[in-house]
Symmetry: C2
Subunit: 216 residues, 2 copies
Amino acid sequence: MIRTGTTVEQMVRAIADMIVTGEMLPGAKLDEVSLAVRFDVSRTPVREALRELGAMGLVAREPNRSAVVTNVTEAYLHSMFEAMAELEAICARLSAERMTVDERRALELEHRGSMRLVHAGAEEEYSAHNTEFHTRLYRGAHNDHVFEMVTQTRARLAPFRRAQFRLPGRLAKSYEEHGRIVTAIMRADAAAAGQAAYSHVEIVSDASAVFATPGE
Amino acid sequence: MIRTGTTVEQMVRAIADMIVTGEMLPGAKLDEVSLAVRFDVSRTPVREALRELGAMGLVAREPNRSAVVTNVTEAYLHSMFEAMAELEAICARLSAERMTVDERRALELEHRGSMRLVHAGAEEEYSAHNTEFHTRLYRGAHNDHVFEMVTQTRARLAPFRRAQFRLPGRLAKSYEEHGRIVTAIMRADAAAAGQAAYSHVEIVSDASAVFATPGE
DNA sequence: GCATTGCAAAGTGCATACAGATTGATCGAA
DNA sequence: TTCGATCAATCTGTATGCACTTTGCAATGC
């Protein structure tokens, strides 16, 4: 647990992590007193943390009800994946146009370095590389607000695509798709980069064998 | 002041409104005790409201500092306008593809009805129409997450484009641009709708004679 | 005259206490 | 037996109080 920042910040990070990593499943109740005891603080910072998590969309809050880990409907999950594809496409397009020489080189290196992870079938490590790869893409767009939106959306989707790299052949396919994006960006071909990024997310969306709660 | 919801919700709405309408200017301090006195509540709900406003990006918070109305840099403002253009383009594209017959008809009627406001030079009323018009576009995309993002971005931009319709000729120009978007959507021409929406926002961005705080 | 240290005022961060809402169980009546 | 009402337990919403941090000013030393 990171010890920087205020109590509330620490709690937000800790709870968000539990949700994103799947330690707390959608629908789980977040009781204020239990959390207060667990983190050895009073209810006041707990409440503020829950409010912040609510604003982030990670937990749902209703008056006089416990906060619960957000349980998105199938329809909403779909809308998030679609939005994610659009956002990644924007980032890829802008990255193709705006990345500095250094950024392009770093992206390519990051990508090439992941080849051995694919061959080794190192799911965990590849997953870390994947995060890094996409983050570079988001930063390369040189648009802070887009960066915030795509980062937030990514966090909210995290619980629903945890196991994606467990699917057979997914690693190699992901690597190949990344390659297409990298090539387009190196060529400064914005349109191609955008399309490659869009279909990359589309496929992740399909690969995420997750079931949201059927429509409410 | 709307009386629904909890105390905190009411405060969030009230304070957000003050910021969005320009009653509180960027950089203004939001003292907890003053707000508590002003709304006749204790500091507890005030603090939660401020945290929520912070998550919304309307106020900036630092530990042991008063919250202040967000004072975006010129660069960040630019990134928000660019993001807004991209988001509106997405909505227009998706609207062109997905709007129901009723939605298309309603959009067109809303647009046509605004012609007389242009001739009358009714800035206030046209501004209300403009909000309604764009909201229809956002809803027509039939993507809840995109709707949330575009709505939030719009709220954060509000303080910076308040006076846009005061500029001479801006009403007529806005009407014309809306017309281009409507035509494309009625034709289900997604690409044209997207482009029209993108350049519409671009022009609003230029028209917003605002000065953010020069880069930090 | 200027810099530095000490102090007081003001404000935030968190804990505790109390009031109101919700839920579930138990008891009584049809 | 089943439905309904009442009450207790539990939890959230808000108020209040205390501790710590920040900041501005003033006094002291150089």
